[in-house]
């Protein structure tokens, strides 16, 4: 069951099962970040809903300074990336490190405390944005206090992850572990460099925009993509019950992503030296190499096999498909003049966040939650998957198509107010999309909350009956 896709299994089946149970038991602390992440996800979609409604009905909540468009949009985005995706991503990566390394989680106490502080950091950040104390930089809007707490708790989580990685009993590394290891370093490096050069000791003039664009590109291409790929590389072979198609392709995909992923993020017309724009656009094209290598590798791994749990594999399958699509959209956005500044850019970001990163994490959470709580039920797995897939297709699709319309009108001589009014149909459509996403988000949260409640009830029963679950000694389990 554990790591069967990466290496031959040598331990006897019974003790292996016990070890898996023990690993999962040690990872129970991860239910804190996972549950909080799902709460932030719901909060993010509420902000996204308000943002979306405001686009076509500007009068809604217009008199509330905290909920003006310029506040709700970054609040929705940051709640998603820092509250949900990063937090859930770290939790899932910790679990993956345990499972792939056949070891128990190191630093359960610090992880619990750091997770609490992470959420305090995000909360301060979101309140800062809503009250107008933003830094004014894309995806780095959190005021100083929020980001400092966030970074402090990340340091603890990162160290625990590295210690867990070191404590592994399986020497051979699996591709998912490469991505996890890389992501664990990329995120703090990117975040501190950007905060340092933008907020603590700001660079001058348009260099701020260059550093900001470099960070945003890294945040998406290195951090969020690595989390997604770690999840996909683990779950796709596991759930389809097949070994990875090609390790060589995985190596190619990983190193080419590492080599060019940090470049990019610049597009034509920016007030920057021309070589930066050219290099950025070239990197966007070269990114097709890791993209194709990874997508083909994982797609061929799935093959034509019928998965034992089609509904859960569907999450990862769709995420992989959307990953391929987003690469095509990114190239499209880089080369069609004016398109990057229209709704298309917004659509591309949301598509990557929900469609690629989100779906992979949702699938992983659906897999993890019953195993960590030890409660079995499959409620809402299909419902939330369908809602989120349809929701993101409508939500991002409306922005993407609307953006193309907007670009066509922008390059003509149509007055600007008319340009925007012609996209209203798409903006209304996006509200329907975000509503579906919200239902999907609520369904996941409801499922995990239900599992937690059930688990608490069993625990209470056990305590009352004084029938503590049998604890295994590590040596016994390792045998």
């Amino acid at each position: 069951m554990n790591g069967s896709t990466s290496s031959p299994v040598s331990t006897p089946a019974v003790s292996r099962e016990l070890l898996v149970a023990q690993i999962d038991a040690s990872c129970r602390v991860l239910l804190i970040p996972i549950f909080c992440a799902l709460l932030w996800l719901l909060i993010s979609s509420v902000f996204a809903l308000i943002t979306s409604v405001k686009l076509h009905s500007p009068a809604v909540l217009a008199n509330c300074a905290w909920l003006t468009y310029g506040h709700t949009r970054p609040a929705a985005n940051d709640a998603f990336v820092y509250g949900f995706a990063s937090q859930a991503g770290i939790a899932i990566m910790l679990w993956l490190l345990c499972r792939l390394g056949r070891t128990t989680l190191v630093g359960i106490g610090p992880i619990a405390i750091a997770s609490v502080f992470w959420n305090i950091g995000v909360k301060i950040g979101i309140i800062g944005i809503l009250s107008g104390h933003t830094t004014g930089f894309d995806w780095l809007e959190f005021p100083r206090a929020g980001s400092a707490i966030l970074f402090g708790s990340y340091a603890v989580l990162g160290v625990c992850a590295l210690l867990t990685f070191r404590a592994r009993r399986e020497a051979a590394l699996y591709p998912a572990q490469w991505y996890i290891l890389a992501a664990l370093f990329w995120f703090p490096w990117l975040y501190t460099t950007a905060r340092l050069l933008l907020v603590v000791a700001p660079v001058r003039g348009v260099m701020q925009f260059a550093v900001n664009a470099w960070f945003v590109n890294g945040l998406f291409t290195l951090w969020l993509t690595s989390i997604t790929l770690a999840v996909l590389f683990y779950f796709i072979p596991k759930l389809s019950g097949a070994p990875l198609f090609s390790r060589a392709l995985a190596v190619l995909g990983f190193w080419s992503l590492a080599a060019v992923g940090g470049f990019g993020g610049f597009y034509r017309g920016l007030p920057l030296p021309a070589w930066m724009v050219s290099a950025g656009m070239a990197a966007t094209v070269i990114l097709l190499v890791p993209l194709l290598a990874t997508v083909f590798n994982l797609w061929l791994t799935m093959g034509a096999r019928l998965a034992p749990r089609p509904s859960l594999l569907g999450y990862f399958k769709t995420s992989l498909l959307f990953l391929a699509l987003s690469g095509v959209f990114a190239i499209f956005a880089a080369f069609v003049p004016q398109l990057r500044l229209t709704l298309f850019g917004e659509g591309l970001e949301q598509f990557m966040l929900y469609g690629v990163v989100g779906l992979a994490l949702f699938g992983a959470i659906h897999y993890l939650a019953p195993r960590l709580t030890g409660v079995e039920n499959d409620r809402f797995v299909c419902l939330s998957g369908r809602m989120i897939t349809i929701g993101i297709l409508i939500y991002a699709g409306a922005f993407l198509v609307g953006g193309i319309f907007q670009q066509h009108k922008l390059v003509s001589s149509v007055p600007f107010a008319e340009v925007m009014n012609s996209t209203k149909m798409f903006l209304r459509l996006s509200t329907i999309g975000i509503l579906l996403l919200m239902i999907g988000n609520a369904a996941i949260l409801w499922r995990v909350a239900g599992l937690l409640r059930e688990w608490c009830r069993t625990c209470c029963k056990c305590c009352c009956a004084e029938e503590m679950p049998v604890k295994l000694k590590p040596a016994e389990a390792a045998r």
Binding site: T68, L173, F185, W189, V206, A258, F263, G269, P273, L341
Partner: protein, 302 residues
């Protein structure tokens, strides 16, 4: 790939490469840019105090999420302007008939003789413009060519030239922006110079731009009972936007600061790296001063 340290080193190397390429190298190139002396003085200068406070309001309200501040150039072309005819008007007229059959050569020569420079060719590539300039020089006339930046943004009137690094030198945080749900604001101060227009627009965009999807910023205004005298600062609102009888809408300090900031946004200083699209043409029939200096300044150094 079974060694953690190997992956760490590779990841470190690629990250440093990306940092070196896109953060450190541009910092060396443009990070220490200084102000420049232009025809109209030192550029850029710091914003005035109120406008600077207004920038904080702009940032705090997240205006950047809908408004970019970047004018983009997608190409360029040249116009050729006949500045003086010299001594041999007949020969110049003959030459004009050859190189610019579309224009009335005699009329142009007469006007230029009356000290009114005339465009003779529009929308030509640099090589053609240079050749025409040379052949006119051979017959004693002098011609200048004007650099015309082209692009959707210029066509929309969002700015007379593209924005360059120098334009943002004193901004913090720089609000270049990534979205154009609203029009570009690089040049809004020159496009809409009236503070009152900005205040009305902020109070409710629909008062001045019907059908606008911009949210109203009424929380930057105070609706209060009129005292002994109406406030001179009160907005002149009518119809459905007007407050109740006996009440007036007065902008808060923040609204005034924001309006001052918006008025301060303009990119109409000609720079070496970004000449202005301004055409040195003079309305026919007038004897206006010749804009030869401006035209010369606009001609890029070959």
């Amino acid at each position: 790939m079974n060694h953690g340290p190997l992956i760490f080193l590779g990841v470190l190397a690629t990250f440093v490469a990306s940092w070196w390429g896109f953060v450190f190298a541009p910092q060396l190139q443009i990070g220490s840019q200084q102000t420049a002396q232009t025809d109209t003085g030192i550029y850029p200068t710091r914003r005035a105090g109120v406008a600077l406070q207004g920038q904080e309001v702009y940032v705090a309200n997240g205006c950047v999420h809908c408004h970019s501040q970047q004018v983009r150039q997608e190409g360029y072309t040249f116009d050729v302007v006949l500045a003086s005819v010299g001594t041999n008007a007949a020969k110049v007229g003959d030459l004009l008939r050859q190189i610019a059959p579309a224009v009335n050569a005699d009329e142009i020569v007469a006007k230029v003789l009356a000290k009114a420079p005339q465009p003779i060719l529009t929308n030509v590539v640099q090589a053609v413009a240079e050749e025409v300039q040379k052949s006119l020089k051979n017959v004693g006339a002098s011609a200048q060519f004007v650099f015309i930046p082209l692009g959707v943004d210029m066509a929309r009137g969002w700015g007379p030239r593209r924005t360059v690094a120098a334009d943002y030198l004193y901004d913090y945080p720089v609000q270049v922006g990534n979205s154009r749900l609203g029009p570009d604001l690089s040049h809004i101060g020159a496009r809409m110079p009236d503070a009152n227009w900005h205040l009305l627009h902020l109070y409710d965009p629909r008062t001045v731009v019907p059908g606008s999807i911009m949210p109203a910023y009424r929380y930057l205004f105070e609706t209060r009972r009129i005292g002994k005298q109406p406030s001179p600062e009160a907005l002149k609102l009518s119809g459905k936007f007007a407050p109740k009888d006996g009440y007036e809408v007065v902008p808060t300090a923040e609204a005034l600061q924001l309006a001052a900031y918006l008025q301060s946004l303009r990119v109409d200083t000609a720079l070496f790296e970004a000449p202005l699209a301004q055409f040195p043409s003079v309305p026919s029939g007038t004897n206006a001063p010749v804009a030869t200096n401006a035209a010369a300044a606009n001609t890029p150094n070959p």
